[in-house]
């Protein structure tokens, strides 16, 4: 089963004279346990591609499949449910919710995926141990460093055992060591759980972790960049 598959996806952002062809007939696949890097300059369409892959944006043409199931393009509610169950996110900043505890932030995703509370907490704590932040579970998010916050964000992205994890510049707000550590853990824990991981990044230091490197330019996946 393929974790994520895009087939001939095109997307125009904006209206009228401001319209930009953000994606042009993009096709790619991410296998379970794989870490695919999506590289390209700013404005090349990386974020749009992630948003389309997650079902946050409706493509103008083409098809998106998660775990072999086509995203229902005309049913917002069905896309939301599929996203809650099958997609994990790691954003550039941790985007943890302020006012909630660090562990609670992880549990939010599990609750949205419909995982029973006891099972969710067990899974969350297991991930936090693996990520080395179990001792910080009771803290409020404001009391954590950027690196610690991003580890909780990784736990949130994996707690519901998603088929695919979409990460947008996950190391951008971290120093080299912390960034490397977060990606290593994301890859290891994602592999353990059979998730396909698609990372949009400018960070060339992540190349050694990638099983494939995809290069996006002006909405096109460049030939020979490892696209399927």
């Amino acid at each position: 089963m393929i974790a994520l598959e895009l087939l001939g996806v095109s997307k125009v952002r904006g209206d009228g004279r401001m319209a930009v062809r953000a994606l042009r007939e993009v096709s790619l696949r991410v296998e379970p346990g794989e870490l695919a890097l999506l590289e390209g300059p700013s404005g090349s369409g990386k974020t749009t591609l992630l948003a389309v892959a997650a079902g946050l944006l409706r493509p103008d043409a083409g098809e998106v499949r998660i775990g072999g199931q086509a995203l229902p393009l005309d049913d917002v509610e069905a896309r939301r449910r599929l996203r809650a169950r099958s997609v994990g996110f790691v954003f550039q900043r941790s985007n943890l919710l302020p006012g909630l505890g660090a562990l609670e932030n992880v549990l939010v995703q599990a609750a949205l995926a419909g995982i029973e509370a006891g099972e969710a907490e067990r899974r969350a704590r297991e991930l936090l141990v693996a990520l080395g932040v179990a001792h910080l579970a009771g803290r409020l998010t404001g009391g954590l460093s950027a690196g610690e916050e991003q580890r909780f964000a990784v736990a949130r992205g994996l707690v519901h055992a998603p088929l695919v994890v979409l990460a947008d510049e996950p190391t951008a707000s971290l120093d080299g060591t912390a960034g490397r550590s977060v990606v290593e853990l994301l890859l290891a824990l994602g592999r353990e759980r059979g998730a396909g991981i698609l990372v949009a990044t400018h960070d060339h230091r992540l190349a050694p972790f990638a099983t494939r490197r995809l290069r996006l330019a002006d909405g096109h996946l460049e030939a020979g960049s490892g696209a399927s």
Partner: protein, 342 residues
Amino acid sequence: MVALTAAYRGATTGVVAYVGQGGFDLWVAPRGIDNLVRSGGQLPADAEEAVRDVPGVADVGPLLRTFAAVETGPARRRLTLLAIGYRGPDGLGGPPEVSTGRRPAARDEIAIDRAAAHQLGIGPGATVDVAGDAMRVVGLTRRTNLLATQFAFGDYAAAEDLLGAFGRPSFLVVRLFPGTDAANVAAAISARLPRASVFRSGEFVRNNVREIASGVLPMLSLVTGLGVAVAIALVALLAQGLAEDRRGDVAVLFALGASPRAVAAGVLAHVEKVVLLGTGAGVLAAWALSLALERLLPTVELDWKPADLAMTPLVFAAAAAVAALGPVLRLRRVDPVEAFRP
């Protein structure tokens, strides 16, 4: 809001605490006089005996009421008080509550409202000059502050000297035997004293509230009303700000797969939580303020009621919900792709 409401009530209850106290079943006043606050004239000399003989009357207390200038100290601090002469220390018509000291028991003793004592800078044991007579303050009373003036209580005979109204009281307060029909007794008194007016206690209280309301209370109501309106407006603005402030979090929640309905409920709950926590802190602050005022500025009396504590959070919660509704509905349209923005 809690403090303003308590201050408003403190002023209004100060008005009625004296005339409405227990044991005052009927008030007998000179004809044409229907309240204590703004009144004049005396009853006939035989009025007390005439009332005492009416079946059903358990006790009668004659009162003399006048405004008296009270002076004290080398600087001759001066205050004009509403003086009540009654047959002390335990006769009908004494102060409703003595907070410090005792009731007056001799001709040269008086008890004055504690706010008046604060303004004069005196306490129990002080000597004051009342219309040229030296009198000793033996007690401080509570719930006897009319804001514009305060009560003083003294010996009936001393008040007779002050007014030169020997044997002719300003009012009679009447206590009835339990189970007595007050209307029948009032009619019997009216028949015996055609030049007097007789009031049931509740009616007399209402008359006094009306008199005060025509003076001080409108201004106090206005201030309290404005204060409450400003408080509600501030809460509403806070609620709007809190809701708008969650835009980034809402985008993240939508991206993670939260439904618009759940997010709206969550934001509303967050707003209500913050507002109610703030209200709780405000209630505590108001309580601390009332303790401070009690010690430092007894002129302002805060009269708390449990209903205020319940009503204030309810009003603020409702204001917050209404104010947050617009922003919350707008948040439902937040683009989840915003979650990707750094």
